[in-house]
Amino acid sequence: MAGNGGELKEYRQKILTALINNRDICELVLNRSVPVITADIQDELTNNHIFKYAFVPNVQDDEKTFIAFEINGRTSNNTNLYKNISLSFFIFSHANVIKHKTGHLRTDLIDECVQDLFNENNDFGVGLMYCTEDSYLKVSNEYYGRQLTFKVKDMNVSRC
């Protein structure tokens, strides 16, 4: 729980930490085996594959898989005591690497991992966080993926 906008940096910290500490996500994004998650692996992921803002790749970028997320808030409810926070995840891969060795789409597998991490998660705001939207995403002619939206309530004001 935060308030007065302090939840933004808290949520970004928690989400990015959760993503780069999940071995399945690390392997799916990097497209290789990751026996142990080291600081070097996390450095490779952060700001190269996983972004804590709504990142859009340039056409010149390598053929990679990306996860980006953004936070929307400040939608007050009737009592003004709480506000509704929504978290949007943008999971997309270059068409050349989107197919996983299992035959599934890489972005679908990451979508599943992200939902495992955050659906019904109680680390954010007040109560549980729920996935409210899971839709397709077309970033450009070569990048496709999934967009996930989670919603949770948080305090509208500081706790003290």
Binding site: K9, E10, R12, Q13, K14, L16, T17, I20, N21, I37, T38, A39, D40, I41, Q42, D43, T46, N47, I50, F51, K52
Partner: protein
């Protein structure tokens, strides 16, 4: 009748001194200690970084001050004092300190860079004056006609210590003339005087040609005269990426590497020490060591924005190094 206790009586009447002279001296000292701090001459100074009080009075020359050391904090001439955001050299110290020592401070208008006995760069604040024209002790021209004594002749007054005591006209090993640099110009030492002003070293130097061994950037003459200068034992701290710890990430590895005089890697066990301005915050830094590595991980967001200083040394503390690392939010 109770007999008079003469011992107690004597002790009472002699409490400020056994003679009138002693009593006068002690009364002056007592008055100074009681009311001295109210004087506008009572200044805040620092000696070796420690704050002290010293009575400083002006003279006709703004670069020279007189001082009265009522607390006897100055033990010898040549002491460097930090006063009014500048370094001052105790040029003279009166040996008569019956009431309090007095002396003269000289403004240090320059910092002389040179190599110490281990050929490492060092420096000393000093007073430099141009003596190309004849002057008397007070800096007034002796003659109305300027007498040129050389092209750029300078007199440098330095504090006497183990390193400045090594200044001489020639180097002991090669018998070459010793040289110094002042503002990118090279000067040959023509005289070194340890006698005239006890506690100080007075160097006289004349301008000379710059040598290929001079390091103009560091302002050190004959910097490359001894080729072993750059081959001192040293320690490096290596790491990947930036010198930062991101809260939320796995432990980051910092490696200490020790090298000998010839640049060979040594098998030395490092001794690590972590320092923070607020040492209590160190409980939020998880650390583990293995051979030459230290692994550091931040465990609490309260450390974001703080700086952790990693100090490392070998077991006999002859080689050490330090690195300051910032703590930032993940992805920062």
């Amino acid at each position: 009748m109770t007999p008079i206790n003469w011992d107690l009586y004597n002790a009472r009447i002699n409490v400020s001194g056994s003679t009138a002279r002693e009593r006068v001296i002690n009364k002056v000292k007592d008055t100074i200690s009681r009311y001295g701090s109210d004087s506008i001459s009572c200044k805040d100074i620092k000696i070796d970084g420690v704050s002290k009080k010293l009575f400083i009075t002006n003279t006709s020359d703004p670069y020279v001050k007189n001082f009265q050391d009522t607390e006897k904090i100055i033990t010898s001439a040549g002491t460097l004092i930090e006063y009014a955001d500048n370094q001052w050299l105790v040029e003279k110290l009166d040996v008569d300190d019956e009431v309090y020592p007095t002396g003269k401070l000289r403004f240090c208008n320059h910092t002389l860079n040179f190599l110490d006995s281990s050929y490492r760069p060092t420096s000393r604040p000093c007073y430099v004056e141009n003596t190309s024209y004849g002057t008397d002790e007070t800096g007034i021209s002796i003659s109305k006609v300027n007498i040129t004594t050389g092209a750029g002749t300078y007199r440098i007054i330095l504090p006497y210590d183990a390193q400045t005591a090594l200044f001489d006209r020639t180097y002991a090993d090669t018998n070459q003339n010793q040289r110094i640099m002042l503002l990118k110009k090279s000067y040959e030492i023509t005289d070194v005087d340890f006698i005239t002003q006890p506690g100080c070293v007075i160097i006289t130097a004349e301008e000379c040609e710059r040598s290929a061994d001079d390091n103009v950037e560091l302002g050190i003459a004959d910097y490359n005269r001894v080729k072993t200068t750059s081959a001192l034992p040293r320690c490096e701290i290596t790491y990947s990426g930036e010198p930062v710890l991101e809260y939320g990430k796995a432990a980051k590895t910092f490696t200490a590497k020790f090298y000998d005089l010839d640049g060979n890697l040594l098998e030395t066990t490092p001794v690590w020490n972590l320092v923070m301005t607020n040492q209590s915050l160190l409980e939020f830094v998880a650390s583990a060591t293995e051979v030459n590595d230290i692994y550091l991980r931040v465990t609490d967001k309260r450390l974001i924005g703080e700086v952790i200083r990693i100090e490392v040394e070998n077991e006999d503390v002859s080689v050490k190094n330090a690195l300051e690392i910032g703590v930032v939010a993940i992805g920062g």
